[in-house]
């Protein structure tokens, strides 16, 4: 029996390869999230004519380490009247869903190392976008469970706000993605990037769709101007009011990881993903080797991601928070009709193109 099991032709090295890749991507997203907190404070400071953290290390570079250490050293308080299991589950779930999305994002084409063809994507599943949507919708459970388990009115209100906000904006986001999918004809993120490498970036074909997606991404990440679920002046920090120590840190961290991942998704869907602009990948790969090309691609994707992250922060320190009715009005009365309009126009044009109309 063992002999039959062992004789199945299974690539055991693939497991190791993927495990290493997962470890790298998770640690990189945590590192990026750490330095996002530093960047956020610096950007905020510069935009308000301040200096920002500049005491810990050169330019305050060790500030995230100090912050993390502080969070670990804080006393951990679980309220008596809370549901203990769910109270601990909440931040864990928020972190888990934030990390899971990175599995389908292609971080580069592939490396040729040790005679192996190592793809820089953990899983190239053919329903990549659907998977992202599924996981992102799960993200609201972190807020919901945390807010409910705290047994605090403010937390519960914040959780309800967060849930209804994410549900409303997911609709518009989904519809704007449908318009994109009509053009690509594929749900696999790798295929979408490869199409953009040879053709145009999809932001050129879908400017309105990208704008809607961007706004909805802000809402999904609970970033200002959509941070109603943690509105500090109305709701006392909302769903993480009762949290302390690293459980609070997990919530805050999950927000930054979410920001990183949604930047990656936006870059992948609309801005060519790991494609290096103004560079013919195929000829460059033959001339200078695949590994150099893949490195360049990873760098290119990260430059795009950092630009998006900066944009997230820039918006946060410019635009004030929406009122709740304004938020709902924007979601249901503006973004969804716009997204539907965008989808219909795109569908019409795709249909014309398929019937060999040239324009």
């Amino acid at each position: 029996m063992y002999s039959t099991l062992l004789s199945i032709n299974f690539d055991w090295l693939l497991l190791i390869e993927k495990a290493v890749l997962i470890a790298i991507i998770i640690s990189v997203s945590l590192l990026v999230a750490m330095y996002e907190t530093w960047g956020e404070r610096k950007v905020a400071a510069f935009m308000q004519d301040r200096r920002g953290p500049n005491r810990a290390g050169p330019g305050g570079l060790f500030q995230p380490l100090a912050d993390g250490l502080k969070l670990f050293a804080k006393e951990e308080i679980i309220p008596n009247s809370s549901n203990r299991f769910l109270f601990v589950l909440g931040p864990g779930l928020a972190m888990l869903t934030a990390m899971m999305t990175s599995a389908v994002v292609p971080w580069g084409s592939h490396f040729d190392l040790f005679g192996r063809h190592i793809s820089l994507q953990i899983a190239d599943i053919n329903i990549g976008i659907l998977y992202i949507f599924g996981v992102v919708s799960m993200g609201v459970y972190g807020i919901m469970i945390g807010g409910w388990a705290s047994n605090n009115k403010f937390s519960l209100l914040a959780a309800i706000r967060g849930a209804s906000q994410i549900i409303s904006y997911e609709l518009a986001m989904g519809i704007s993605i449908i318009a994109l999918l009509m053009i690509t004809g594929s749900l696999s993120l790798k295929t979408i990037v490869e199409q953009q490498q040879t053709g145009h970036y999809y932001v050129l074909l879908q400017p309105l769709g990208f704008l809607i997606f961007l706004i909805c991404a802000f809402a999904e990440c609970n970033r200002t101007p959509f941070d109603l679920s943690e509105a500090e002046n109305e709701l006392n920090f909302g769903y993480h009011q009762e949290y302390s120590s690293m459980k609070l840190g997990f919530y805050l961290f999950a927000e930054y990881v979410n920001m990183f991942i949604s930047s990656a998704v936006m870059a992948t869907l609309y801005w060519g993903g790991y494609d290096v602009p103004f560079l013919n990948d195929a000829t460059f790969g033959q001339a200078h080797g695949q590994n150099l090309l893949a490195t360049l691609q990873v760098v290119s994707l990260f430059v795009k991601i950092v630009a998006f992250i900066f944009f997230f922060m820039w918006v946060r320190w410019t635009i004030p928070r929406f009122r709740y009715d304004q938020l709902m009005k924007l979601g249901w009365k503006v973004l969804i009709p716009l997204a539907l309009f965008n989808m219909l126009v795109t569908g019409f044009l795709v249909l014309l193109k398929q019937n060999h109309w040239h324009f």
């Binding site: 950007v43 308000q48 004519d49 301040r50 820039w314 410019t318």
Partner: protein, 180 residues
């Protein structure tokens, strides 16, 4: 209605145009403003490394002065304590013994001289009252301590370094505004 001042302006309440209702131009304008602020000069002074220059009449912590030969000027006359509106100064006088002429300028000196820095209001009346120019308010400020007791400054804290043996420390403690 007659406006009350010449600066009154009527508020426009006309409905927003399509362009305004899109909000995106206004958002872009706001974002350009915040972006331009990123490159502006920061008004912050990096405090412990850099300090702002004081005005010449700044009144900081007190210093008990010495004369050019390094002798204490204070004669424990008590005029500063009388002048002090916050009653922050106490002292005990003592007579100079033979052989101490290089330490104290007059025949009488302050054996104990204490200023409670928590009571002091830094008005500078002690400096004005002193007939011997023995006390003046320096440019040092922001004392820090763990206990209230630590804010009662004795002679060790107040007395200026000796100008003969430690001229550099003396000049530093003296600052730029002592009356000689």
């Amino acid at each position: 209605m007659q406006p009350l001042t010449s600066r009154a302006r009527a508020v426009e309440r006309k409905p927003m145009t399509m362009w305004e209702r899109m909000y995106l131009p206004a958002i872009a304008k706001g974002m350009s403003i915040t972006f331009s602020h990123m490159f502006k000069k920061k008004p912050t002074v990096n405090y412990p490394e850099k300090t702002r220059p004081f005005s010449p009449v700044f009144r900081g912590l007190h210093v008990l002065n010495r004369d050019e030969q390094g002798r204490e000027r204070c004669t424990a006359c008590g005029l500063c304590a009388v002048a002090c509106p916050a009653e922050a100064i106490t002292m005990e006088g003592a007579e100079r013994l033979p052989g101490e002429e290089n330490l104290y300028r007059e025949e009488k000196y302050a054996a104990k001289y204490e200023i409670n820095m928590l009571r002091c209001i830094f008005c500078g009346l002690c400096e004005e009252a002193c007939p011997k120019d023995a006390i003046y308010l320096s440019e040092t400020f922001a004392p820090a301590n763990y206990t209230r007791k630590g804010f009662i400054y004795g002679k060790e804290e107040l007395l200026i370094p000796n100008p003969v043996t430690e001229p550099e420390e003396f000049a530093k403690a003296q600052g730029g505004r002592v009356k000689q």
